[in-house]
Symmetry: D2
Subunit: 350 residues, 4 copies
Amino acid sequence: MNFASDNAAAVAPEIMAAIAAANQGYALAYGNDQATRRVEVLFSEMFEREVAVFLVSTGTAANALALAHVTPPWGAVLCHAQSHITTDECGAPEFFGGGLKLVGLQGEAGKIDAATVSAAIARLSGHRPHQVNAATLSLTQATEAGTIYRPAEISVLADIAHRGGLKVHMDGARFANALVRTNMSPAALTWRAGVDVLSLGATKGGALAAEAVIVFDPALAAMLPERRKRSGHLLSKHRFIAAQFEAFFRDDLWRVLARRANAMADLLAAGLAARGIAPVWPVEANLVFVAITEHRHRRLQDAGATYYVRNHDGMPANVIDGGAMLARLVTSFSTTKSDIDRFVAIAGAS
Amino acid sequence: MNFASDNAAAVAPEIMAAIAAANQGYALAYGNDQATRRVEVLFSEMFEREVAVFLVSTGTAANALALAHVTPPWGAVLCHAQSHITTDECGAPEFFGGGLKLVGLQGEAGKIDAATVSAAIARLSGHRPHQVNAATLSLTQATEAGTIYRPAEISVLADIAHRGGLKVHMDGARFANALVRTNMSPAALTWRAGVDVLSLGATKGGALAAEAVIVFDPALAAMLPERRKRSGHLLSKHRFIAAQFEAFFRDDLWRVLARRANAMADLLAAGLAARGIAPVWPVEANLVFVAITEHRHRRLQDAGATYYVRNHDGMPANVIDGGAMLARLVTSFSTTKSDIDRFVAIAGAS
Amino acid sequence: MNFASDNAAAVAPEIMAAIAAANQGYALAYGNDQATRRVEVLFSEMFEREVAVFLVSTGTAANALALAHVTPPWGAVLCHAQSHITTDECGAPEFFGGGLKLVGLQGEAGKIDAATVSAAIARLSGHRPHQVNAATLSLTQATEAGTIYRPAEISVLADIAHRGGLKVHMDGARFANALVRTNMSPAALTWRAGVDVLSLGATKGGALAAEAVIVFDPALAAMLPERRKRSGHLLSKHRFIAAQFEAFFRDDLWRVLARRANAMADLLAAGLAARGIAPVWPVEANLVFVAITEHRHRRLQDAGATYYVRNHDGMPANVIDGGAMLARLVTSFSTTKSDIDRFVAIAGAS
Amino acid sequence: MNFASDNAAAVAPEIMAAIAAANQGYALAYGNDQATRRVEVLFSEMFEREVAVFLVSTGTAANALALAHVTPPWGAVLCHAQSHITTDECGAPEFFGGGLKLVGLQGEAGKIDAATVSAAIARLSGHRPHQVNAATLSLTQATEAGTIYRPAEISVLADIAHRGGLKVHMDGARFANALVRTNMSPAALTWRAGVDVLSLGATKGGALAAEAVIVFDPALAAMLPERRKRSGHLLSKHRFIAAQFEAFFRDDLWRVLARRANAMADLLAAGLAARGIAPVWPVEANLVFVAITEHRHRRLQDAGATYYVRNHDGMPANVIDGGAMLARLVTSFSTTKSDIDRFVAIAGAS
């Protein structure tokens, strides 16, 4: 009953097989190999336009590289106050960005709304050179609360950002989960809606260690190779990270795996709701947040369930009553129905 | 006939098998897994003392983290003028180190001698706060010229460094090659000779992407976890990097593979020397440098040989005559005798 | 009627005279002169203990140097959400601090309370190495709202900070104004109450360009000379900045000037209040904040009054009603009674 | 007999008077005052084109801001191995530039020649993204050896730089000394010869603390205001730095003072040469370098002479014989003939 993180899951067999298959003969190092060439083409096909793509081994690297690339050191990145980039990356964007500033915005269910973005841009524009100025809007898709921005919502936010001179970044560590839930194309969820640069994660979705920075306007990617190299994120045996993405995209594997993870989250949410433990936020990706009593929490832990309890800063007061805890339950492609049934039974017992 | 880089080689089958074997069930992310615990113990055993170890996926990351950790932003790192950290990492040590300065020192055959280090420390000490001050000595083992520092040489340099208040870093991207050539213990080549922090590479030696920062005094490692995380170098599915090192050390695989690479370099050097193309520097690791005419260079390229031609700044004038080129030939565990025979035959033909 | 800033005032005649008087003969550069030696002793006398002191020419430099010195790049500085360091220094602390994070806390009248600090430390401690960790508490004295922390308040906050392993910084750009209002000693308002490092401003108080970083434990100041030099803040003709502080302290000039500025603020506040325009926050230093209608604002501007209108984020909703503006009126040692009378008359006219 | 530095001199009376004269009434802070507007116009007139100018209080700040502005973090600045930016600024360019790399080039008498620059650009171009790439050429005028680049020399070097895609920076801490010696216009010595950005110093030439970054193409100056503010180098009472430059330029004061300093250097050089102590390098600015025996050095010190002894790395072996020391003698506008006569007499005594 492991619901700690989709990072705790193993690697999808198809991806592991691709890594093994790539282990043949010599290949030029540092991305000058054939597998990398192939996967670059693949990314452009996937996103229905020519893109520039940079593979790295962690999501933190992808986010920090992307944000530093589109934000000057004296710029501000507007993001949700609970977003991974500001709470869980130990200041990586600030480090890569030469001391840029992340400005955390409040918003329900992990999402930022248009009024909040507009107000932040207004507040962080014009008082030059005394103030850092709004430079980038970063959206997380799916959000840390397990919710999803629809293309129309992204468009509205991106338009506001672009009118204010900002670039739009999307942290897509769980992009595939959003993709299959909305049943939209990758293009519709990104550049067609105004996203300038995407951190696309494969690791949580089943890869070993494979993340990509995708710059939709290749001209905007100038000098990103230097940024990546200089941060130590250019792998020498690059074919093995390319191979992971090739397998991820082949036969729609990324959607297959994401659908499985999402389905397990739905099952878990439905099971808990049926026992009176309704999810705190809409379950749209592979994350289920529930308020549980400490009594139930202990019982689950005693039974071997693994998951994290989150602080609930900024949550509406009525969501969590005094004694309850906010449990974050993460499913993955490898979550089984039997684990869910067992978890629901224990959690739901009186 | 690929002699471009040991990075162009594939992954040793034993290591690939270990990666696949690690792909079972759940494991806590970010290094909180059992494989990581096991490999930490293994490192301490290998080095005959309790060490702090941090696994990352590139050598540039290992070097930059290590150097930034022991050098303040206003400090200077003394290193060979041709060392990888100053010529090939796009300023990663400067970036990680908040703008520290690398000071390149001249020295024959890739090695720095005691007088040079002493003079550099004298020149970069005391004119405070106007001058950056010598803070770290970085030695490459094996060197970029394919030579090796013996323990006694390291001791002499490390003593000079320590007396001047410097820490000693070793870039061990090809540490195993030095290890088997000298037939010394890992401890003898490092902390017993005065090395404070080692970047130990496994990738060039047969791994997929596995490098380690080893801090010999664990107390000195405080806050290195934050540095690693913040630079994006803490892998989420950490068990797979731990598995690579477990396999690397198991049954002395690292020595077995390094011996094979060194033996191939010896064979290559001997073959070329017999045909009048003597190596420029002593062949002590898996690198052979030879001066070849452009005519021969073209013939080799036409035959499909792959290798890099290096600039020869700082080389004794008599080594390379006017028209010759400096070819760097790198062998690896996967180099075959037949490739060498063929290369030697083509290179040596009149 | 200039109430724009105490920075808009000229230099106090006593300080200008001291600068001119220092212009005799040769003096060693970079702080190796006699005037600097004398003023270092003076600082220690003023603060009743041996201190380390570093003179610079701007308050932003003093704050950024102080914060960067006590906060690691992966640390968080807790400060008021409206504090100068986070709203008006264009990210200087982040730049000097290698990408540290400023965490803005809410609090009434520019002050942070104990519960807020405790909660922030709790939230930003322990989730290592994923989260930046609380490293420093920064208090502004007097605050941006013109209010003052009493020694007992500072002690409570500093104790909480120290128990959590944080250092305490005080931004004392208007320290003298707080000093004379509380009638406490410099020591009582700083290190005796738990402040570890103080940015002490003289510029707003009447100097030309003179600010000091004071480190109360000199051992903590190691390497601050390098930080200052490297940031370009070590003046070559250093005697002239030393001379400003000598004059500032001589015959209690700093208190004399601050009392004058505070008295003018009191007069202004009383005059406005008598006409129904009560200050928004207690007037404790040389700042008066009032809510004025746009109609009155225009009339004042037309009459030549100069002051800034501030945004009122985080202010209690009832303070500023819909149409009103928040005017910040700053007095200085050079403000005249006639200017105040005239301003009050115009503002108060029906 | 103070020949330690032109920084040890006092402030020229005309400049001190201008500072005092600026001390009238209110002026908007941070450069929004009338004196700043006036001086900006003055700079454009001086340089015969519209320029963007940023005043700061130290030469290190001017150099570091200028270099960081035209060099990306992954870029290299080519400069003389003995230049102030690489030997005496404690890594300020690296800090401001996010970890850029200074590459020290050898050259006689403090000057870099065309072949050396060409070779460095060739060596530091193209091996992307592994290598930092040559981005900026920095020339010092007058050089640290007291020599001067003529316009034709600058043009040749700047052309090479521009063809390689580099920008050209000039460290003009002693620009006025070069100006009057060559009898050229400021434009001829800078942008007409290809200089893109100039650090123009007034402090060594007689100001209190006044340096300027001059960007010859104003479009290239975008975001320099943010860089300056964020580094703490935007003075609040900005009128007083503007006043220094106004006085510096008024009635050609800068040339008057520089001529005086140069003339004193000529006198000193001639006097010493007449006694057999010939200058090591041509005396073209206000610096005289001589080789003196330790015996004479002691005698001068005993007589109260102040000057620095420099290391002589990179000097031709024949310049300094075994026992001699390299003395750097700096004159300034305030050096007197009697000091020189006395110094020469003592130095020249048998």
